[in-house]
Structures are given as C-alpha cells and as structure tokens.
Amino acid sequence: MTLTASEQIPISLNGKSGTVQSGATILEAAREMGVEIPTLCWASNLTPANACRLCVVELEGSRTLVPACSRVCEPGSVINTESERVALNRKMVLELLDSTNDLSESPELQALIDHYGADASRYDEPSTMKDDIKVEDDLFIRAYDRCVLCYKCVDACGDEAQFTFAISMAGRGFETRVSTEFETPLPESACVYCGNCVGVCPTNALQFKAEFDLRQGDDWDPQRQTSTSTICSYCGVGCTLDIHTQDNEIFKVTSPSDHSVTAGHLCIKGRFGWQYVQPPTRRPSSPDMSS
C-alpha cells in the first residue's frame, strides 16, 4: 500500500479509534489525540535518538514494546500507551536512571519518578555515573554525573544542527561518556561555544555558567526570574532569543525550538554576547556635555 503524505490513516489508541496523518509517529498521533507520552531523549528539533526508551508503548503484533518517538503509525495500528506492561517498563527505565545519575536538577524526571513509583533504593550499592564537574571557561559547565546519555548534545553539536562535532559518545556500555577526543578540555577542542548542547540538555548536566554560579551561590530563585522573547542584535539573520533574567540581570539565553529561523539553535554571539548590557560594563547614564 502506498500512501502520500497528505493521507489520513485509521489507528486505535488506548481503545479509541482515530485518524492521523500518514507518516506520523505514535508520539505525534498520541498528542494529536490528547494522550501524553513521556519522553526524555526526544526533542522537536532533533531526529529521535531512540535511546532512553521512556516513551515505549505496546503495539499489537510487536513482540517487544516500541518507541513512540520514532515508530511510525501504520494503517490499523493498535496502540496501548497506558498498560501495566508499559508502566512497569517506564518505571524501570526511570529507576535505572535514578540509580545511576544525579537527577536533582531535573524536575520533570522527578515528577515522572513519583508518578510511576520508581524506587532506586532497591539497588544495593549500584555503580553510578561518577564524574567531577568540569568548569573550564566562563560560558558553561559540564556535570556528567547528571548525564543520561540521551545523545541530544552530541546530535546538536553534530549533523543535526551545528556540524562542529566537538563531542561524541566515547567508550562503550556503562562506561560510555560524552567526550572530546582523548578527553581534551573543551577550550582546546573543536568546540565553538554555540551552547546548542546546553540548549538541548534535559538534565542540567550542561549548564550555563551564570546559572551555575547562581545555584552554587545558593541564590537560585525561579520566583524572581522572567523570560522575554526578542531578537538577537548581532548580524542580520534575526534569531529569536528568549532572555532569562533574575533580578533584572540576564543569566541565560535560549531560543524556541519551533522557530523557523533558529530551530532553537544559536551561535556564540547570540547565546553569550549579552554580557555587555549589564555590569561590569560601564554604560553612560546621563547626558554628558562635558567636552
């Protein structure tokens, strides 16, 4: 059966019939039908990495569960996103992650852990992803004990957006780490500090230095923060920026991933070039007629 992109196909989701655009993934179909499926390694501006398996669902005819983020619906697909089997698998994925990583700065994952009843204390002295926080420059830090190896940073640095390829998965299995070549410090690597890796990181393993400093100084307070959408002032491309401030000071710049100009990605100037707006820059503040 050949289908053109515009065709609608029938599916069944959690016992309800519906039609979706052919070519839609199960995740897209579910959202269309008002059913939420949790994700971790999926992002709207990246090709699904398929790695976390948090979004697994039951698909009739499949021996194993299938990842909703990348499995495409077929005519007549019968999908269950909420069965006990699905819940157990999701609980286990969360439990395995929680037993391995520091997820303290991932509120969304924490909520899922509570929801699915994942209990990492079941494991006796589990091996964990230990790593020292890497503070190598003034722009962002890397705390790989929080890294869930979702591939987003590697993909954003690579051929999904930036084509800089400063980082890669290195090693194998549980020893796999996001790494530069021979673990070279970032400033000596191919990194161009676009910060697009930070922009896609779901667990705050990659964190802008200004945010890191606020948190380290125990001065992090979402209540005092604002976010404002504007346009970058460097070059003439017109990238949308979301400026995040706390107490009238900028600490972070992001871009919405659904924007046609940026797809959520920025360059070093757009991402970090805001510092001049605020102290320590000395700005003229009253008309000066001295000379």
Binding site: A51, R53, M92, V93, T164, A190
Partner: protein, 582 residues
Amino acid sequence: MPNVPDLKFSDVVPEPDERSVIDDLVSVPPIEEKGERWVLGGIARGQEARHLLLPGLHALQDTRGWISPGGLNYLAEKLQIPIAEAYGVATFYDLFQFEQPDTEGPLHHVCVDPICEMGNSASYIAELRSKGHRVHESPCLGQCERPPAAFVQIKGGDNRDMTEATGRSIRIATADPKRLLRRITEMQDIDLESYERHGGYQALRLAIQEGGARVIEMLKESGLTGRGGAAFPTGIKWEAVARQETSTKYVVANADESEPGTFKDRVILENDPFALIEAMTIAGISTGCEKGWIYIRGEYTTATRRLEAAIDEAALAGRLGQGILGTSFRFDLEIRCGAGAYICGEETSLFNSIEGYRGEPRSKPPYPTDSGLFGQPTIINNPETFLNVLEILTYGVDSYRSTGTPESPGTKLFCLSGDVAEPGLYEAEFGITLRELLARAGGGVGELQAVLLGGAAGTFVDSRHLEIPLTFEDVRAHDMTLGSGAVMVFSTKVNLPSVLARFAKFFRDESCGQCVPCRIGTVRQHEVLTQISRRGQSPDRNELLHDIATVMTDSSICGLGQTAASAVQSAIRLGLLEKSDT
C-alpha cells in the same frame, strides 16, 4: 590561533610509520587540491571515504601497538572525520588501546568466559603474567573446543589466533548425509583447484543458468531460514532485495561470530573459504548486487588470512570482479575486520561499524532489505546460511528437504563445548534430540547439571529436556532457542550462579551503551547476580532480576538487550540458582 571552527584538528603530528600506513590506505582523500586556487571537498566526499576509518584504526594499532593521538589525528584529518568522532568510534572497540604500552611485547587476550574458565584459563593467565606477558581478560574468543582460548596481538600486525599459534585441530563431525561440512572433512588443501574438485562453483554455474528468479524460488521452496539466530526465511530476504530498484545494493556476510560458545563460522572460513565466496556471488548475481562485504571478527586472524587469499585467487581466476565465469555479471568482495565488539554481530551495528561509525544498532524498521549498508537495500546472512544455499542449488530442493523436519529442513551446525568427551563442531539433521547430539560427542563428562543452548543469549535446559527434538518449532514450543547453535555443557562440578554472574558480566561489558534498559540493566543484573552468587537468593533479588529482565527484554533497542536476561531467567525457572548455597 584564530579559529577555523570546521573540523579543527590538533597540532599533534603522527610518527612517520603512522603517516605512511594511512597514506597507503587512503588513496582518494576527501580533500583534493586541484591547485592553489581550486579545492574539491565537502561533506559528500568525506562520506565516501568514511568506511576507511575502521581499517585505518587497525593499521594504527598494528603499527605502533596502540593508537596515538598523533596517529588518530592524522587519520581523522586525512579522512575528514571530526577528531572527536574518530575517538568515539575507536574507543568503542576492545582491540584498540589508547595508552602507549610499557613493553613492546605481545598482548595476550585470554578468554575468561565459563567454558574457558572450566578449561583453566585462570592458571594460563597466571602463567603468562609470571613470564612478564601482558594479558587482557577477554570475552569468548570463538575457540571453545580448545580451552583456554587465546588470541595474541603483536606489534607489527602479525596477530595470531590458536589455529596458527598451536596448529591444534578440532573435531569436526558431519551428519549423514554429509552436507555443509562435507568438503571440510574431505579437502586436503584450501585452494580453488581443490574446492572445484570437490564440487565447488557448480552452484554458481547453475545459478547463472537458471537465473536469479529461479534461485530465489528454490530458496523459498527449500524452507531455508537464517542461521544467525533469528531464523528469518532466506528466500524472502533475497527476494525483497531483488525487488528493490535502486542501482546500488549490497550482500553482506555476518562473520562477526561472537556469541559465547560458538565457533562454527570460524571453522567454515578457515577451512572452506571459497564456499562463502561462491554463495555470496550467487546472492549478488541473483539479486542485482555488485558488491559484497564480509565482516569478520577481528580475533579470527587465520580465517581472515585464508579468506583474503581465497578472494585473491577467485578474482584472478575470473570468479570475482567483472565478467564472472564469462558472463556480464560483476561482483566484488571486500573484507572488514571487527575490533572486539560483540554488538557488531547485530546486523545494523555491523553496518554502522563498516561505515565507520560506532557499532550501535539502528532502530528497526527500516529493515536491511530496505535500508541496510550505506542506507542501501542489503542482504545480510550468516556464513552457515550462505553454505546452505550451495547445498540447495547443487542437490536440489527435494534432496535438501529430505533431511530435517518439514518446518526445519536440512541440517544444523552445533558447537559442543564444556563437559563433553569430544568438544567440537557437529553437523546434525534437524530433529535430533539433545541426548543423541551429546552421545555423538562421546557423552557428558561427569553428572549433567545443565546445558546452555544458543549461547549467552540462549536458554538453559537440564536432564528433563534431553528428549526434545532440536528443531525451530520444538524449541520455540518449549521456550528455548537454538540461537547460534552453541551447546555448552555444565556438569554438577560447576558453580552455576557464578557462571550466570560471568555471563551477566559478559553482557555488561558488551552492551553498546546506547539505550537505557540495556546500558544500565545489564549492570544491575550483573550486580544482583554477583550478590546472589555470594550471599544467596532472596525474594527481593528475584523480583529485581525479574523487573530488570522485563525492561531489558521489552524495551531494549536490539537483540543484545532483549536476550541479555534470557539465560538468567531460564536458569531461575529451572531452579538452578538455588544451588548457590551449597
């Protein structure tokens, strides 16, 4: 230095010998300077050369005994592969080292998996170390009939497995009628003349005469299914590729035999390399593929050398290349050697490995027949499967179906190891019982405790299962698997919980790390089994093992994670873990 961000390489320089092996390897570099003012480059040209990464890594490792930053930098720049990616690919493999070794002497990889452990690998390792040798404790090396198995990496590239190092032969026994192993038991020499004298290239001539459509029909009528473990119908796979209208398609032989307890493909490739070449050529001309790749385990050095020699001889004799046997068909073969990664036996990981990426499995669908090697339609089969094709064409479908059962026609290669009188490779008709198979190997040694069928990813059985006929349909009905044909026999002398912990370690080490269920699940499974082997079972631990098994089996990307709990769970079902306290 101001930044030229794109593909920034470091300033580390290679040694002259590193430079020269890479220059020899890369004859058409991605960047071509046509003069000072005209340079061809770009991403597409880089993609075309990327498959040279893995051979380049081998060349560097062989040359200096490790992969130096300067060497890797030079290779990556030459191929225009980002240096971080090149490092990511290189560190995926066990056979590459990234620190300069203290001594120039060889590195001995000694198998510490259960069969070799039963074969005294520990004392062999101690002996090597006492003599000052460097030792790496290795997963199964596919030489389980002669434990303890070893593979030696030697600076300069003259690596050795035990076939060459010891000349020790292996027990090879065929069924009646003789099928896949016939030539191996009859041929004296491994050359084209001898191969043809024993019936070689009859099947290819027949295929040329009958045409590809008829070949595929015969495969479908024969009921041949893949011998790699998944038992997919071979004729349907070939037909799917034949139907693809793209101009570039591939035939791939998956000779990355790494399932613990399995060594059949090594024996085939060492002793009957032309058979694989002929069968792949048949696949090529029958389905419209002009290029074949053989991905062979990096530790199989004898098999690799013999296969290379056979390919050269076949090409010289007009059996490969343009105008095969006087026809207008073209078919070329290229060998790629793995570098110590069990996962690369998973077909999509294997594609990634050939292409110069990390050997991580891809999401399926798409299946290889739609998008396989280099994204093109691809036939990928195991050497044993390919050998069956020759039998079917040479002797006909009826003859082929006269052995075995209607649902599992033909014969199967079984690799017997562990506590049996005569470990070795046995060809037997489908339907033989385990008891009969063990009897052919002279019976068990000691009191039978359990048999692991199908390798580490297989299932345990015990004396209660000896009468079950070994066919796909029967084992499926009993929740067992034939897997790769490994039959590992454990007597009551063996501490099974520690065997299980060791297999769990195997999966922990060999998981590629891509998906959470397998990357972390294999670690947790190993941790819990280690606790059980030390402190005994408990309901909590069993429940944990069950939950871990569930997520690995249900939610892993590929077969590795999906079967990583198979042996453990079957052992629990049989009550084998309960013996840990004794």
